[in-house]
Amino acid sequence: MARMKFLCDAERCIECNGCVTACKNENEVPWGVNRRRVVTINDGVVGAEKSISVACMHCSDAPCMAVCPVDCFYRTDDGVVLHDKDLCIGCGYCFYACPFGAPQFPQAGAFGLRGKMDKCTFCAGGPEPDRSEAEFRKYGRNRLAEGKLPACAEMCSTKALLGGDGDVIADIYRERVLRRGRGADLWGWSSAYGVRPGAQPPVQQPAATSGKS
């Protein structure tokens, strides 16, 4: 059973913002709303500066779902966290709960009123008929219903951003880390998906020092 996840390889991200552009273009996201953005960590620290692409991670135990006062969030069978904009009241609780700053609020009206929350949908649309005009207008394109993956991940030129079934993309990343021999730190993975005992790196066994053979 597929569980859709995002993985950003900080060793590879070159901060080109291709993912941001792809998302904006594919979903025709309004001005002022950024479903995906590239952030720099350790900014200015020589040798430690990294860039990562951040959006909704579709957490296993999503805090936005837990805090929503109108219960407008749901999770699809393939693990994508979506919401119903017809129910959202734009209260902003989800924004405070989210560790990734994913929920975005378009400014509605002249007095700085917050509109309904908008966030990355893993290119899976929302609770409107799939591939319909209504779905596209409210939530953006439903690429999963077309048998495709999110535009940001498919567009990433260095393949730093991987999207898809957690097991598949973790295997890709594992092989990549083994080949390059470094850079196994995954930003945001454990915050979003938890840490399973099996996911821990093997404990280094101390070298035998005794003379026994």
């Binding site: 999770r75 119903d84 048998g147 993309i169």
Partner: protein
């Protein structure tokens, strides 16, 4: 003394009854509209698609998407 031990034991076991507080979504059990599933859609016309699946069959849809996911694996794309 016995009463005190029983009290301490009862106090110590209080946490055992605590339920894990995890949001569990059940299909169609939230306040909003129900959504349909990706695999319930027919595949796109041949000129717009790569993979193919049988409408309503989750396994074939997952296989189709998995093939596409593996295209992100450049070591396999280049060396095979």
């Amino acid at each position: 003394m016995r009463l005190l031990l029983a009290f301490v034991a009862a106090l110590g076991l209080v946490a055992c009854g605590e339920k894990e507080q995890v949001v569990v979504y059940k299909q169609g059990k939230y306040q909003g509209k129900p959504d349909n599933r990706s695999w319930d859609n027919a595949p796109l016309p041949a000129e717009f698609r790569r993979g193919e699946w049988k409408q309503g069959d989750r396994t074939s849809w997952e296989e189709s998407v998995k093939t596409r996911q593996l295209a992100q694996h450049e070591y396999r794309r280049i060396y095979q």
